[in-house]
């Protein structure tokens, strides 16, 4: 028996959005294990982790489509629908970048020069930190809706976003240092490998960029 009153509330996008950022973070987190395996030459294990990354990325993708379908224009919400869809899109890109990086590395059976490996792992970890902080911020969405986007809850989220910004700045610094270190030794490398290593660094850095854009989107919601 369907009941009109029971359907007066559209499906709330809040819980699904929180679940989606959870998936995106879980996906990004795999990169630490992935690169550790790659650096140890355990290609079979790396390939397994890559499968897990693809599975999580697909799951996030499916959820993204589902959320979009459940947000018709007829919904009346405290924040613009467009802002929520944009937030969803950048959340999804965290998982996309993770998939791209792991795809290139596994596809080319790439190895990084030993000298920059510890530095690179640190860089990856910091990017994953940014994704984690993005998740922590998005998880405040339901409280934000309850508090009507004002007051103490807004301050709390603002401070979470500040922390996110500083993590992202840190990844930028690490990225620059990493590029400089690579530049020092690039002449000893196969040119094509060197180009791809630059690309890997670039794409990995985009994980933190996307996490930061998640923060920007949340900030826009706060200012409504």
């Amino acid at each position: 028996m369907s009941n009109l009153l029971a359907n007066i509330f559209g499906a709330s996008p809040v819980q699904p959005l929180e679940k989606h950022i959870g998936l995106a973070y879980s996906c990004a987190k795999q990169l630490i294990g992935f690169f550790t395996a790659v650096f140890n030459g355990e290609w079979e294990k790396a390939s397994e982790i890559r499968d897990e990354i693809e599975r999580l990325e697909n799951e996030a993708d499916d959820l993204k489509k589902e959320i979009r379908m459940r947000l018709p224009k007829s919904l009346f919400m405290p924040v613009p629908r467009e802002d929520l869809l944009e937030l969803l899109l950048v959340q999804d890109k965290i998982a996309n970048r993770t998939r791209d990086v792991s795809g290139i590395v596994l596809g080319r059976k790439m190895q990084l020069p030993k000298s920059i490996r510890p530095q690179f792992l640190e860089f990856v970890e910091r990017n994953v930190d940014a994704a984690k902080q993005a998740r922590k911020s998005v998880r405040e969405l339901d409280e934000l809706f309850t508090a009507g986007f004002r007051g103490a809850e807004v301050d709390l989220v603002a401070s979470l976003l500040e922390e996110l910004d500083s993590i992202e700045t840190d990844t930028d610094a690490k990225q620059a240092a990493l590029r400089a270190a690579l530049y020092e030794i690039e002449s000893t490398l196969n040119p094509i490998d060197a180009m791809f290593i630059y690309q890997i660094i670039e794409t990995t850095g985009e994980i933190a960029d996307m996490a930061e854009r998640v923060g920007r989107r949340l900030e826009l919601l706060l200012s409504h």
């Binding site: 009153l5 029971a6 359907n7 499906a11 709330s12 809040v14 007829s74 409280e143 508090a147 809850e153």
Partner: protein, 416 residues
């Protein structure tokens, strides 16, 4: 009148049918708010509804009952053929009851008030004559159908704004909730008791002076607020659940408040909507017993019991499924939002009851929910569904009228 017993028996049966429909549709919708927000279980909701519907009907339902009974049809025109009013009221009861049954099965939250008023206007205009309808009064009633949802929406908007500003947007929402929720309880109890004392009790034969009315309302409200404050003080934070949802314990405090507003809601509903079933029944009884229309007599107790009893049966048989369905669908209406909606709706309805205007509980409640939504309190409201609900409201009036006209002519031919 020799056929009197037949008329009264039929009217009683149709009255129970109509009351059953009210319980199944209207009351269920009203109580679902409290069940959906988990302030009450279904069983508790049925008990609350049974007690407070009854109290509302007896203590504050008099004015609306007389509107339904005498306010819509101009009985002067019926002087020499009072049986027309009997056929008409029987037809109206059966028509409204049938429409409610259809609507309940289809899941449309229609208004029992719209269906009975539509039915009475229908049989009077077609069966007796256009002039038999007191159009001025009907105009006021129809206006109130637009005003009451708007008014309750506005009140709900204001209430929820204060909740956000005073409690939810603070560093220590729990402490603020414990401090302010008893104040909301006071206001809820104060408004409802005051209107009841000032407007309703006259019909029960009690007449209390203005100053005493205020004093009595304040005393009752303070007692309720104190009991509430005592219960609230015993709520302890649950750190594990808090970690998942910061407002977990705050919502539990509002849950206590919602028990008070749920009682108010059932009371308000009883004061307004029971009349839809017992008003026509009372009209039939007067004619059948005295053979005249204008005789003014109090509504017999057994009629009230039929009204109250029918509603409880409707609620317990069919309504509990409606409560479960609606309750599951409206989980977004947490206690902090649900109480704002309920309090606004109950206040609006009780004021309408006091002035004798039959409004729709369901519409008033939907208006209140939209008001909370406008205060940015609800994550998402589906405007398409709101549109469909409004269509079902509009369709109800001609549907009730058409069925009533049909039954009227059948009764006119069949009955003695």
């Amino acid at each position: 009148m020799e056929a009197g017993i037949v008329y009264i028996t039929l009217a009683a049966l149709f009255g129970i049918f109509m009351a059953w429909g009210i319980g199944a549709n209207d009351v269920a919708n009203a109580m679902a708010t409290s069940v959906g927000s988990k302030a009450l279980t279904i069983r508790q909701a049925i008990v609350v509804a049974a007690v407070f519907e009854f109290l509302g009907a007896v203590l504050a339902g008099g004015a609306v009952t007389s509107t339904i009974r005498r306010g819509i049809v101009d009985s002067d025109l019926l002087g020499d053929s009072p049986e027309l009013l009997v056929y008409g009221m029987l037809a109206a009861l059966l028509a409204a009851g049938t429409w409610l049954l259809v609507a309940s099965r289809k899941g449309w939250p229609v208004s029992t008030t719209h269906s009975i008023v539509g039915a009475i206007v229908g049989f009077a205009a077609v069966g007796i004559g256009i002039d038999a309808v007191q159009w001025g009064k009907v105009g006021t009633i129809v206006m109130s159908w637009v005003i009451s949802p708007a008014m309750s929406g506005f009140i709900a908007f204001l209430i929820y704004m204060t909740v956000q500003r005073l409690i939810l947007s603070h560093d220590d929402p729990l402490g603020r909730a414990k401090r302010y929720v008893p104040v909301y309880m006071f206001f809820a109890a104060f408004t409802i008791t005051l209107v009841t004392i000032m407007k309703g009790l006259k019909h029960v034969g009690l007449d209390i002076g203005l100053a005493d009315s205020y004093l009595l309302a304040i005393v009752i409200a303070v007692v309720i607020a104190l009991i509430g404050a005592f219960v609230i003080r015993r709520i302890k934070p649950d750190p594990k659940a808090e970690k998942h949802q910061h407002f977990y314990t705050v919502e539990r405090v509002f849950g206590i408040l919602m028990i008070v507003t749920a009682c108010g809601m059932a009371f308000a509903h009883g004061s307004n909507d029971v009349a839809n079933a017992i008003g026509p029944l009372a009209a039939v009884i007067t004619v059948a017993q005295t053979g005249a229309i204008s005789a003014k007599s109090a509504v017999p107790l057994w009629v009230l019991i039929i009204g109250g009893g029918g509603i409880v049966i409707g609620l317990a048989t069919f309504g509990r499924h409606v409560i479960a369905t609606v309750g599951e669908g409206i989980t977004q209406l947490t206690p902090s939002r649900g109480f704002a909606a309920e309090l606004a709706a109950a206040t609006t309805i009780v004021i309408a009851s006091g002035t004798g205007i039959p409004v729709s509980t369901t519409h008033t409640l939907v208006g209140a929910v939209l008001g909370v939504g406008l205060a940015r309190g609800i994550e998402a409201i589906d405007l398409r569904v709101v549109g469909k609900i409004m269509v079902s409201w509009v369709v109800t009036i001609p549907a009730g009228a058409f069925l009533a006209i049909l039954f009227f002519f059948i009764f006119k031919t069949v009955l003695p």
